[in-house]
Amino acid sequence: MGRQPWTVFGLMTTAQSVSPGVTASSVIISMTVFTLLYGGLAAIAWWLTVQHVKAGAPVQAEHPDGAEPLPVFSY
C-alpha cells in the first residue's frame, strides 16, 4: 500500500492507469471466473496430493542388469 497512489512512482497515478475501455462488470466477471477456477484446481490438487501421500512411496524399480533406467512417457 505504500506505493499508492502511484502506478509508476511520481509519474503516473493508479487512477490514471485504469483501462478506459474495460467495464467494472468485465473485471468482476474475470475476477470471479479466475477465483472459482483456481479454487477448484487447488481443491483437486490438494485431494490428489492427499491420495498420493496415502498410497505411499512406490517400490524402487530394480535394474539387475545394471541398465540405465529409461524415461517413460508422462501422460
Binding site: 483501462s19 474495460v22 474475470s30 479466475f34 477456477l37 498410497a55 512417457f73 501422460y75
Partner: protein, 355 residues
C-alpha cells in the same frame, strides 16, 4: 524498413509459429475422443504432443509481450477491447493444460472421461476464438478517437468473424489429424488419415470462402499472391494426405497456416487495429509504436535470443521425431506402486532413438 515495421513482421511471425505449432495441439485435443478406440489410443495421441504442447503455448505469450513492448497502444486497445474473448481463451488454455496433467493421476474411467471432455472444450474453444479475434482485427473494430474499443462481445460475433473462427477450427483440426497420421502407426494412423480427408471436405471450402472474402474487402496485390499460395498449399496438403504422404501433407497444412497469417497481416498493414468508426481513429504501425530507442533495444535482444529459442524448440522436435505406437505406452498408470519392467518400455533396443 523502419523498426516498427520490423516488429510488426516479427509479431506476425510469432503468431505464425503459434498457429502452425499449437494448431496441431488443438487438433489432437479436438480429435482425441473421436479417433480413439481405447485408453491406449488416447494416451498415444496425448503423448504425440506431450513433449511439445507447453512449449508451443509460449509463442502467443511472446507475441503478446512483443505487442506490449513494441506497440503499447495496440496491446492496450486489443486486450481491453477483447477482454472477455481473451478471458475465455485463457480459461480454456488453463483447463486444457490441466487435463494433460490430471487425467492420468486417478485410475478411474469416469475421471479420465471428464478430463477428456474438458480437453475437447479447452481445445475447440480457443481454436474457434483465435479465428474470430484475427478476422475482427483485419475487419476493424469500433474504436473512438482515443483508440478505446466501444463495442462489446457480440460486436465480434459478426459473420466474417464467425467464418474466420470456423476456418481456424477446421484448419487446426485438419492440421491435427494430419499430425496424428504422421506421428502414429497402425490403425490409429489410418483413422487419422481418413479423418483428415473428411475434415478437408469442410476445411477447404471454409478457408477458400474466408480468403476470398478477406481479399475482396481488404486485399492488395501482394496478399492476393499469398492467399492464392495458401489455397494451393491446402489443396496440396489434402492431395498428399489422400496419397498417404503424411510428411508432405503436414508441410502443406503448416504452409497454409503460415501463408494465411501472412495474408491477414499483409492486409492489416500499415494498420495494426483499424477503426470501423472512422479511419482516422485507426491504430497504425506508426501511431501505436514505442519510441525508437525502445525498439532498438528490443531488436538487439530479439536478435540474440530468438535463434536460441528456435534452436532448443527445434531440438525438442528432433528428439521426439519418431512415430508412437501402443507398445510405447506402459501398461501401468504413472502412480502405480511398481513400474513395469524396463524391457516392456523400450522395445526399439539400442540406437532406437526413442526417448
Amino acid at each position: 524498413m523502419n523498426l516498427a515495421t520490423f516488429w510488426f513482421i516479427l509479431i506476425a511471425i510469432l503468431f505464425t509459429g503459434y498457429f502452425v505449432l499449437e494448431g496441431f495441439d488443438f487438433g489432437v485435443g479436438i480429435l482425441m475422443a473421436a479417433l480413439s478406440r481405447d485408453e491406449t489410443d488416447r494416451r498415444v495421441m496425448i503423448n504425440t504432443i506431450g513433449p511439445v504442447w507447453d512449449g508451443n503455448e509460449v509463442w502467443p505469450i511472446t507475441a503478446g509481450g512483443a505487442m506490449f513492448a513494441a506497440f503499447p497502444l495496440w496491446y492496450a486497445s486489443l486486450f481491453s477491447g477483447f477482454y472477455l474473448p481473451l478471458l475465455i481463451i485463457l480459461v480454456a488454455l488453463i483447463v486444457r493444460g490441466v487435463c494433460f496433467e490430471f487425467r492420468g493421476k486417478v485410475d478411474s474411467v469416469r475421471w479420465r472421461a471428464n478430463w477428456d471432455r474438458a480437453l475437447f472444450a479447452g481445445s475447440a474453444l480457443p481454436a474457434l476464438l483465435w479465428g474470430v479475434a484475427f478476422a475482427n482485427i483485419v475487419r476493424g473494430v469500433p474504436l473512438n478517437a482515443a483508440h478505446v474499443y466501444t463495442g462489446n462481445l457480440l460486436t465480434l460475433l459478426n459473420w466474417y468473424g464467425l467464418l474466420g473462427g470456423l476456418v481456424t477450427l477446421s484448419l487446426f483440426t485438419l492440421h491435427g489429424a494430419i499430425f496424428l497420421s504422421l506421428r502414429t502407426t497402425g490403425e490409429l494412423r489410418d483413422r487419422a488419415r481418413r479423418a483428415a480427408l473428411r475434415i478437408a471436405v469442410a476445411a477447404v471450402p471454409l478457408a477458400a470462402a474466408f480468403l476470398l472474402a478477406t481479399q475482396v474487402s481488404h486485399g492488395r496485390p501482394g496478399t492476393d499472391v499469398t492467399a492464392a499460395l495458401a489455397a494451393v498449399a491446402l489443396l496440396g496438403a489434402v492431395a498428399a494426405a489422400f496419397r498417404g504422404r503424411e510428411g508432405w501433407a503436414f508441410a502443406g497444412t503448416a504452409l497454409t497456416l503460415a501463408l494465411a497469417v501472412a495474408t491477414l497481416f499483409g492486409d492489416l498493414w500499415p494498420n495494426v487495429l483499424p477503426s470501423s468508426t472512422s479511419a482516422t481513429f485507426s491504430l497504425t504501425v506508426t501511431n501505436a509504436s514505442s519510441a525508437h530507442y525502445t525498439l532498438v533495444v528490443m531488436s538487439w535482444v530479439a536478435l540474440v535470443f530468438t535463434p536460441l529459442v528456435l534452436a532448443y524448440q527445434g531440438w525438442t522436435y528432433w528428439v521426439f521425431r519418431k512415430r508412437l505406437t501402443s507398445s510405447d505406452i506402459p501398461a501401468a498408470r504413472p502412480q502405480a506402486p511398481t513400474p513395469p519392467p524396463v524391457t516392456e518400455l523400450e522395445p526399439a533396443g539400442p540406437g532406437g532413438g526413442r526417448p
